[in-house]
Each structure stands twice: as C-alpha cells, then as structure tokens.
Subunit: 349 residues, 2 copies
Amino acid sequence: MPLNNDIIHALRQVIDPEIGRNLVDLNMIHDLQIGADGRVGFTIALTVAACPLRDQMAGDARAAVVALEGVTGVDIKFRTMNEAERKAVFGLSQAPGLPQLKQLNQVQQVIAIMSGKGGVGKSLVTAALAVSLRRQGQKVGILDADVTGPSIPRLFGLASGGLRASDQGMLPATTKKGIKVVSANLLLKEEDTPIVWRGPMIAGAIKQFWTDTLWGRLDTLLVDLPPGTADAAIAVIQNLPLKGVILVTTPQELAAMVVRKAVYMLRDLKVPILGVIENMSYFRCPETNHQHAIFGPSHAEEIAAAAGTTVWAHLPINPEQAALCDAGRAEDLDLPELQVLSTRLVVAA
Amino acid sequence: MPLNNDIIHALRQVIDPEIGRNLVDLNMIHDLQIGADGRVGFTIALTVAACPLRDQMAGDARAAVVALEGVTGVDIKFRTMNEAERKAVFGLSQAPGLPQLKQLNQVQQVIAIMSGKGGVGKSLVTAALAVSLRRQGQKVGILDADVTGPSIPRLFGLASGGLRASDQGMLPATTKKGIKVVSANLLLKEEDTPIVWRGPMIAGAIKQFWTDTLWGRLDTLLVDLPPGTADAAIAVIQNLPLKGVILVTTPQELAAMVVRKAVYMLRDLKVPILGVIENMSYFRCPETNHQHAIFGPSHAEEIAAAAGTTVWAHLPINPEQAALCDAGRAEDLDLPELQVLSTRLVVAA
C-alpha cells in the first residue's frame, strides 16, 4: 500500500500549466484516499469550471501516482474551487513581521493606455512610452491589463513563466533596460496557452497585479488596457489611482466610433483624458516616398475635442518598428514623436 | 396634490438612454409616494450598479415630475435591480397561445468568426461573408457578439435604436438586401454611447440575442465575436449550436500568438475550426503596383496547421473597400476572394 507522503510528493511534481505551480502548493488536491487494495482516489479542485487544461493535469497526476510502488489504480474526481479557495491561490499570503507592500510600493503616477477598439496599437504605444521614459532615467513599470490577449511580454522578449513570488508579493519581470512588467502571459509556461476566464476572474487578476505586486519605487506605472468597456476597464478605473488616460485611435471611422464610447465612459466616470495618439495614420511608400492614408482620413481632432483634450501625435505605419516589436526588441524602438511627447510624462526627481 | 397616474404618465416620457425604452415600461420605478404637501418620492432601480447614466436619468425624471401641477419637490432614491428584475427587463415575455420562438426559428447553421486579437478585421470578414452568401440567394443573419465594441450596424448603415420587440421576441434589424442583424448598438439611441457592462451581463445579452430573437428561417447565422477568450466567447460556445469557427488573423507575429490562444481554446472545447482567413496581408501601392508586406511575413499557414485546417484566403489591405465599410455600404463590397470561398458555406435548398 503506497504512503500518503509518497503520493503528495509525486503530485508535487505535477504543474498546473496555466499557473506554473504544482497542484499541491496550489491546494488543488483534496479528499485523498488510499484503499487497502492499492487504489488511490482524490479530487482535483479546478481554479475555473471549464478549465481547458483539466484533462492534461489529470493525465499528468494519474501518471505520477500510478508510477508509485503498490498503486493499482487511480480515481480522479473534479470540482471547482470556491471564491475563498481561488483567492488563497491567487493571493499571496505575507509572512508576519515583514514590511507591508504598501510601504514598499511608492508609485508616483499611474497612467492607463486605452482605446475601446482592438488592434489600434495600444501595446506598441504603451511599450514605446515606457522605453522613452526609461531613456530619460525614469523608473517605469507596465501593468498589462489585457489578461486574455496580453502583448507586452512578447514586445520586450520576456519569457513566459517569468513572474516569481516573494514573501512580500509578486515580483515583476524586468526588461533588459530595467522596465518592470506584470502580465498574465508571464504566469503561463507557454505564451499561447489560452486564459479562458470570465469577467470576475479577470477583474480579480488585474486588482492583484496592482495590490499584490512588489512594484517598489516607480515614477510611472503604465497600464495597457484590453479593447472594450467591460470588466478590465472597470477594474482598472475602480481599483487603481489613475492620474489619467491616454487614448489611442486609428483613422477608420469605425475605430473612431468605438473610441468615442471609451471617451464617454471616462467622462461619465470622471477620469481625466490626458491626450489622444493616432496610430497607423499613413504609410510612406519606400519607393515613391509618398504618404498613403491607407485607413482613411483622420478623426483624431474630433475625438480629442469630444474628450476635451489635444492630439499628441499622428504615428505612421512603420514596418521596421513593427518588426522590432515582433522580435521582442521594443527597447530598440525609434519613434521620435513618442520620445518627444513622453517628456510630458516625466516626473521630477 | 398630483395624481399617481399623472406621475406615471410623466415618467413614461423619460427614456433610459442606454436601452432606449422608458423607465416605467422597464419597471425601473418603485415605491412611488405622494405627500400631502406635494412632495413626490420614488426609487429608480438601475439595471447596473455603476450605471454611468444614472444622473442623467434622475435629472430627466425629476424635470418631468416637477413640471406637474401641485408637485412641490421630488426625492429620488436608487437601488440596483436583482437578477430576476434584470431578466424581466432584458427578456421578452411571450403572450400565451402564440407559437413559441423555437418553433418559428429554423437556423440551418451557426458559424462564429473569431480571432482572439482585436482589430484584425473580423467584422469586415463577417459582413463580407454575409453579403456574399446573400448574393447567392441564401437567408443570412448576423449576431454581433461584440457587446462593448459592436461594428456590424455601422458597416451596414443601420440606425441605432433599430431593434423592436414583438409578442414573439426581439425583431432583428434588416439591411437593404435583407440580412437580419442583432447588435447591442441597435439597442442604443446613439451609436457611441458606452456599454459599461461586466462579463455576466455581456454573456446574458449574447444568450438572449440567440434565444429571444425572432430569427425566423435562416440558412446561416454568422456570429461576430469580440477579441479575447473571456465571457463573450464562452457564452457563444456554451449556448449556441456552433457548426464551427472561422479564424481571422493578420501577419504580425503578435497577432499570431494571440490567435493561437483562440485555436487552443477551441481545440480544448472541441469546437471545429473550419478555416483561417488572413487579413491585411499586403498593401498594393497604387502608383507602382508593388505589394508591400506592411505587417510582416504571413503566419497563416502555421496557424492553420495548429488548428488542423487550411488557409482560405489572404486578403490585401484595401482602402476603397474599407471606405465602403466606414460609409455603411458593406453591401457594395467587392472582395472576389471572399465571394468564391463563401460558396463553401452555402446551404443546399
């Protein structure tokens, strides 16, 4: 008959692929039973109901346990964690006596990058602003609030699984030049693993990225928001001390309509809009040097007017710069317009 | 002292700007009290807790009531509707004896258009496929599942507020050529009013767009999904009888990574992937006629391989066609590639 400790030890080798920690430490193993005939049974408490990795985890757990001497069979049941259990998993308990996170974290300003519409280049703008500020000697962090479609780690070439825990909180990953990054993709073992979470889980994750991360001393924390005016945007506005929002748009009328929804949401919730950045404004043909307004005429001025602010930049479509981002080399970006306007965001020493 | 009926009549003139129906019919007015001194008090039950239009509605309601003879003051309280009340508002009760929706609705196939990443042109592809099928004499509907960033009504030039109720269910708006459309933007009075809803509300709306709409007889219902693998995607997969999904991507490696998340989600949930359409594959300079791979090399073949399917089309960036969409003229689109491949989706009579 196998020993309880051996089974626990075996299950400690099984990693939740989404979270990157083992099932025992995640408190996912319950009701362990060992029959006199060598049959082992237990329940796996899943963090989400329709966990797409359920079968993979169960297979791994079964293989680990069945390999033990004396085990004749493995029976696995499933249930879903309740809110308190989930909180215990995703929260990080603090050892008593250590300084609290809120004493260690001193963030001078929090600025969100938002558009409402997807695919307008929010993440590129966020990354380029962070890089520009860093080049001016500022301490910069990025909170990637796009939980189901995170782009920031890829732009900086940060490996998946790069977030670690300490006694004082989650430790951000750090880029080559020293920008601190927290993103759902840094929690995954593979960057293309889907995160199939409903809104409340997404809102909870964003809240914890803010409250449970050891950001330390930062001049500026930039928040990269996903498309839409749903859970993620609400969570950021309600839980983070936003100085304001930078809106990103593209010339299409369709994009302008959706960006105006974001403007009206921010206005109703009394969040200041700092400025508007139009991306993909034109493409300069490398052969003729002519500008082509590929996505139509600009609507940036009218969006800025509705938002009670000004247009900060019209950025061209720039295949070379996009290629740098795809290669994880956002820190080599050369966007003079953003470099200039980022000086507006510099925090005095 | 004002009469109860007069107050109700006055409040019937006050419209919830988000839903486009009056507060009385929406059952938002509760605890109406009329004091002997002419003071009127009531509670407005809001459909969502942090309703950004709360103050506007209260202002309108106050103005309507205070204008009545004998009213000396108006006291308005707020509370949030419970789930049952919300359901009663957004659901449509059916008169007894009428044929049930499920007898009237006969939808031959339901196909979702998804990408995971925003801004890749999902809505354009959805609209163009619908138009192509319609040109072949098929009966086509579009369910716009992008609740916070809906694009479909704009592409077809459909006016906001175009959804109406009947005894048998919600009536879709109809395009010039007869495509039936349901979208959150058709519920709004102004297309750029934000819908600040959390995930469960979004999932509930999508479910009702399917179950409570009088779709009638359709050969194909196309579902335009928002970016992400969160509530909207889960709601569509769990509640609609999907024949399969068409994936839309663009050449950027970043987009490919996020689209792969969608592939793995669909695979884990056992939803068939019918094909991959790459949009914005290149731009043909009108002066030199040269193709420019503005967004980098294609990743469509590798996504299709991961999805166990094939690439259906590489669509160019086409400013003229995009301008048609911005002008609400999607039914004039001329995309020969999509016209050809839409024949795969034709349902035999």
